[in-house]
Symmetry: D2
């Protein structure tokens, strides 16, 4: 299991007239969560694209436990809970300033070739970097 924390400050742009962060803003936070989780491992999605690898989102599940409010500094915990192969599964947990869990979500993303738009496997170096986090489970 590989897990990473990053932070996001709710902007006025994110709010709606219910005074909540608009429900459609959360996918932006998941994007930030997984991109920063990858960067912390030494990989940037920017360089993936430069190498001809795209990672489109296949599906998304979101549960809105409590609202997020303007100017709150949210903690986004992003977790890769199984060794990825043809696709990568991310879990997201969002916590507010009182450390209350306000949102849980998950996404699957594919690895596809940017030229043919056909599925491909996870880039080998990225797989190598993730392996140490899953060795223990695989040995069980």
């Amino acid at each position: 299991m590989y897990s990473h924390e990053t932070f996001y400050r709710v902007t006025y742009a994110d709010t709606d007239q219910m005074r909540y962060m608009y429900y459609g803003q959360y996918p932006r936070l998941f994007e930030i969560g997984r991109v920063e989780a990858m960067r912390a491992l030494g990989f940037s999605y920017r360089s993936f694209e430069n190498d001809g690898i795209l990672m489109p989102v296949l599906d998304l599940k979101s549960t809105y436990l409590k609202p997020a409010f303007y100017d709150e500094r949210l903690k986004i915990v992003t977790t890769v809970d199984q060794m990825p192969a043809a696709r990568i599964h991310f879990n997201y947990e969002i916590f507010n300033e009182e450390n209350l869990k306000i949102h849980v979500a998950e996404t699957n993303l594919a690895f596809i070739d940017g030229t043919t738009f056909k599925p491909r496997r996870i880039p080998a170096q990225f797989a190598e970097a993730l392996k140490p986090f899953f060795t223990h489970e695989q040995n069980r």
Copy 2:
């Protein structure tokens, strides 16, 4: 079952550098789908809020079957498939200009009191307007 169609033109703002409509834009389309489905029945979410009724989103599931592209006129089919009580469940299907189904999603929304922020039942008149669409099933 109550079903309603509306249309949405993909803007440049919606696109990302993969040339797809950004995955986080879809919730905006669901919002438009359900608001127009309600309006077609004679109800506006605007007037609900003026009457002190809020409808926050509880959960969301989205499956990205195929990408949506810039300037496509998408068809959003919004369906209420069970008579709502404490919450309302919406299904969404999105079709592109070739009438290919590119996205399916569903959300649950609560009815809450805008003053106490406590759950309440569906407004009576809205329930009345929906009933005819569910009578047949209830008689079975």
Copy 3:
């Protein structure tokens, strides 16, 4: 002078906790205004891009006269007030449901070559389509 009207319904996504349409949503409306103004003349920005012509925005001026509110159906009046050559100037006026002018704005856009990213002149056919709207002034 060439002028065109289109309509935009303010979504919940557009609102902020001041209950106004967020000030940063207006550029989306200008985009819709100018794209629909071009489409009414028989030109789509989509086909421009397919032909290798990009139209990046060079500058923007916006004046917020009155707020726009949730669910209002706004009228966007887009005007090309001078015959474009190396760039095209658009004026935008936005009116609310009471026909009050709530916003005025203007943008300049360049025509650039999608391969070289160098400036180029307005596509000849687009210029032809616009000419009739400016002949009178030129004859004065």
Copy 4:
């Protein structure tokens, strides 16, 4: 003159199919710039609203010098260049990772009473905090 720097990482959500940050995303960056400039002085716009003070945007001018690209870490320099009274004027300069100035903009914001929605003067404590940055000029 009071000046403050903050940073913003361009997200995938911000990009469009021209591979630029969408022109309509810049106002979000100005919002972040001015809110962080205020926070650095010990003031949060959140607490202003809690005290019944709103700061709607009156006008905006933006010049797009060069595009911003995905994943770039942009520097936003926000400057208050004159002592505010009934309104506050912000200048914004945005620099990319090569420290090239890619965008300049300015906005005027009003101070209004959140109950009456009427204009009011700048909150006294905020004025006090800004004064030291303008004393020199006033003495000239």
